[in-house]
Symmetry: C2
Subunit: 271 residues, 2 copies
DNA sequence: AAGCATTTTTCGCACAGCGGAACTAAACTC
DNA sequence: GAGTTTAGTTCCGCTGTGCGAAAAATGCTT
């Protein structure tokens, strides 16, 4: 039973039967996670279905989360929504992220000067979460998508990250993707292999229409100052006004430059 | 032991010894909450101090949270940071918040036309969390403060919310504030009493320099469509360019109008 | 290199929390 | 408005999980 949840929950390397692992915490967070996009309100029943946990368990978890302000409840329809506590945590996360502050001016600059979208992301399980995002034209930065998730395997952002992950971790994640979306796996694996080569040869990787037909993007990896955290930085836009040529010739090198300025110095070439 | 945490954690009405309450979940979330503003990175030790939990417990909780992607770990200095999972949750929360979508155009409009700051917030324990925020001049909406917390007792946002809470809940919260910040309590209580009167007579409440010396703001309550969720909507700015007169005469009525348009119809006057 | 301080892991035990089943409440049907 | 379905809560015995004291490991200082 624990098995089931761990598989669903932990995409990371993890000794499967940790004595360290606090199951009820994981379950509670899984409940919060059930509130995905387009699933704004859920009843206990819905949550039970999505998480595979028994009704009494869900009942207790929602009770607890409600009590703590991470869920709100509407007696009208017996459904829960994510509460303000969750948002406060999200803010604390982003406010403490030094790379974001450092990157801000650079990405604003590039986004405006080239009229493209620039974004920074970090891996979360099999997705990438936007940490910051800057759009060229749309002066009203709706910033709606800070925190939103995109797939890891088909986007430039995800590929830049996957490519620079330790081999073991990448393989683990690819296996997980194969299990979960066997139909897309061919495409994903080829894309990642290509990304690795591209990063070696030209410093950035590409996703031209691989995520969405009409979106072109290039990505680069960025390492945190302590060298232990890996982010992706992308530059992209709709294909009708952002050609692959522009990306390859003009924006690619500029993005690589930014990534270098942001990243911790990785390794000095010996001697 | 449970007691201790409950007191610290649950500001809400809550039967003290619920069998429904899942302690380890609450503790785990308390760990995440320890990462406040200006506390971006914490070691197990720091967390133990802030939460009052024993070190082994923290160890297991951080292990679990790390595993699930809600924390990141730097082996370099043995410290944790909030991870991307947390941000993804925050986004899910805000994306599912219908009042925010409905409010957006109205607050943008007012913020721009009067060059003031407009914000929507919801209570979280003894704070108010910004759900959305629009600033007049600063075209670059840094949106940094969606998710940030401000005090409940001294701000216009907090007062608008407190004033419209059921009496029991308000009293509970005031008691909690008295315990936690006895020195400010006089000011808080007077402010809330005044807010209640102001809302009755003029439809909006005020905080002129009560939160920060040089900030003036007025606030109104907003009810969610199902009538079960209470938000605050404020209009404010630095006192040097936003006079109390402008707020009282011009912006007050406009804010009240917006709140009416946003709120669910509360009660029909009988007959 | 030894000593000190801090952090992590171990271990046995108590009890927290799990799930099946029964119970209650509410919504829908006709 | 009684019957049927569906959703949520309560009960309860059992299991396994998460707790804290103390040991072990790690890192830092002198």
């Amino acid at each position: 039973m624990t098995r089931r949840l761990r598989e669903a929950a932990a995409q990371d390397l993890s000794g499967s039967q940790d004595r360290q692992f606090v199951t009820s915490l994981a379950r509670g967070l899984e409940v919060l996670r059930a509130f995905g996009p387009g699933e704004a309100t859920l009843g206990n029943q819905d949550i039970a279905e999505r998480t595979g946990l028994s009704k009494p368990t869900i009942s207790r978890l929602t009770h607890t989360l409600l009590d703590l302000g991470y869920l709100t409840y509407s007696a009208r329809n017996g459904r829960y929504q994510l509460g303000p506590g969750v948002l406060a945590l999200g803010y604390a996360m982003i406010a403490g992220l030094e790379v974001r502050q450092r990157a801000r001016p650079m990405i604003e600059d590039l986004a405006a000067s080239a009229n493209v979208t620039i974004a920074i992301g970090e891996r979360d399980r099999l997705n990438v979460v936007y940490l910051d995002c800057c759009r060229g034209t749309q002066t009203v930065a709706l910033s709606l998508n800070v925190g939103s998730r995109i797939p890891l395997g088909t986007t430039a952002l995800g590929r830049a990250i996957l490519a620079k992950l330790p081999d073991g971790e990448r393989e683990y994640l690819l296996r997980a993707m194969r299990e979960r979306m066997p139909e897309d796996f061919q495409k994903i694996e080829r894309g990642v292999d290509r990304a690795i080569r591209e990063l070696d040869t030209q410093g950035f990787c590409t996703s031209f229409g691989d995520w969405r037909e009409d979106v072109n993007a290039i990505g680069v990896p960025v390492f945190s100052l302590d060298g232990e955290r890996l982010f992706g930085l992308i530059c992209g836009g709709p294909s009708f006004n952002l050609s692959t040529d522009t990306l390859m010739e003009d924006l690619g090198p500029r993005l690589v430059k930014i990534a270098q300025d942001l990243s911790a110095p990785r390794e000095m070439a010996a001697t």
